[in-house]
Symmetry: C2
Subunit: 376 residues, 2 copies
Amino acid sequence: MSAAKSTMSAAKSSMPSPTIASRIDACRTEMKKGGCSAYLITEHVDTFYMTGFSGEDSAVIVTPRAVHVITDRRFEAAAAKEVPWAKIHMRKGVLTEEIAIVCQKTRITSLAFQADRLTVASLDAIKKGAKGVKFVKAPGIVSQMRCCKDDAEVRLMQKAVKVAQDAFLVMRDSIRTDQTELEMAGLLEFEMRKRGASGPSFPTICAIGPNAANPHARCGNRKVKRGSAILFDWGALLGFYCSDLTRVLFMGRIPPRIGDIYRVVLDAQLAAVDAVKPGVRVCDVDDVARDLIAKAGYGDYFSHGLGHGLGLEVHEGPSVSWRSREELRPGMVITIEPGVYLDGVGGVRIEDDCLVTQRGCRVLSNLPKGISEAVL
Amino acid sequence: MSAAKSTMSAAKSSMPSPTIASRIDACRTEMKKGGCSAYLITEHVDTFYMTGFSGEDSAVIVTPRAVHVITDRRFEAAAAKEVPWAKIHMRKGVLTEEIAIVCQKTRITSLAFQADRLTVASLDAIKKGAKGVKFVKAPGIVSQMRCCKDDAEVRLMQKAVKVAQDAFLVMRDSIRTDQTELEMAGLLEFEMRKRGASGPSFPTICAIGPNAANPHARCGNRKVKRGSAILFDWGALLGFYCSDLTRVLFMGRIPPRIGDIYRVVLDAQLAAVDAVKPGVRVCDVDDVARDLIAKAGYGDYFSHGLGHGLGLEVHEGPSVSWRSREELRPGMVITIEPGVYLDGVGGVRIEDDCLVTQRGCRVLSNLPKGISEAVL
């Protein structure tokens, strides 16, 4: 189908769903505030969020009266199905050229763009073709909107959590001595797939013993032994939304030092989850966990922020660390995941996914985390 | 460990491996040509390629006399082990701030950067802190170097191909009617993991019947039936390197139309693989496949390029399409994957990974692809 034909088909289109329509409205309000006549979205999760169009390598331009979707023939059928109400442009050349062409054709005079997503080279390429257009940096419009989830998004995230949990319980039952980190991670991902996940939301971490002293451990051929502590950090991607959980299990018995830090981390995690409420500053929640860990003497061994926002991406807004003074708002979904890491010994991190509600917090995940329940 | 201590430790460091040393040399030669006193690398696969350091969210600055690695405490142990010869900077703030600090401390006057990788916002943030530094766009230095693989890289890629193939053969034997796309894709990824893959090199595609008419199909709950054509596009990530293969299987019998296009695509694929030699232009290889498909009447249904470069990333240089006049060189690894897609009916794509050698081409993959061998 040619670009012309596609654009014609928009005339007889239906309307976007109420959710998508309200996102587009919110985007237009922000555009107006910034004095821009158009907003260019180039990041895949953001083009999906704003339009419901699932195609990759595509762009969206929101103008006061239209929404342009710029894609290629691989996603022709998806575009016809998902965004029949949009003006669809099928590019033949590279994406940046087609963006410039759409700017010229639709007489855009000022274009806001995602400065935190677009590369310097892509911006140059668009500018080259779009003469006379004023470019305005607008990094945060969509990522700000994405911070607070609506009910449909929360339902998908709850499903992504459930699939991750159900898969974990099955995998947990099959852990035996001599299994490798790669085997356990593989089985966990397989069980998530079987339950409808389109994949893991990030590469699964399974780390035995000292390997868990690295918060970003990679799986290898280390084997489970009696007395092993095994850290799992995993999540499911389902309906485009992520879950993200961490648990530590013990094979047969609890190594005393790891047991000590487990209790400290669990206390800190429970206290931080309790502190999650609308109106509370993120840094104050981080403080709750960090203070408890410092009081127990492990302050130097909690080497990362308390958590992060979660949604279409496994790391998104709001930022959840000691640096952020942002206040929590209803609809935000954040991870709470304090950890303590002892080089050469091991590490403990416990992570749950929390929805900020009108009055407090609803923890989406409910896998057991008491230390005695962690013994296999 | 503080930044100061880390930097000190570089004094008593060993040297980089000969491979890494020669990459750094090549980078310095390019820097000199461009008249730059330093080169900033911000893309993870590129920082890994240039130094062997595996940490994410990190940056590398190559100067004429030193290599600076800017990372954070999560990767402290990895940095000490992997790049003891480099000047290691442990950042406490955000990465862009620390890059600016290193520029100031080391008195860099002109800094080349990866314009095709760095976002507009990140460049702004670095510029803010690095007063007086001249910034020079240098998009392709590392990606150009990465196009041609050395023997060690080829060995890793051969392993990544073998793991993908072995896993496929096991999964293939277990295909039964009523299995879903998600189950088959999950099993394939699980079997790759069991064989040492750190994961799939991209989300596995398993597409039954009409779903395969979309070259970027997503797995769902469609079930295998007698007479189903099933397209698999998958690869393993192993030792940081990717493989990428596509095969179509038939459950019990071959649907006539899909059988027709299978023969056309296979002819085109074999002919294109035969055309891969050093000195041949990429567009001419693309032509070989495209002409055969067009002559069979399916020219409009081969809607993507012939393939792509493969290595640390699943899509990298060289570009393999009708648009590229670049000549093939020994050491390049490319996919050859023509396809024909019929809306509502299905699709066939056949893909192998090919190493350009001194005289021709070595196909790294050797899974059967004759049509009769594709019947389960």
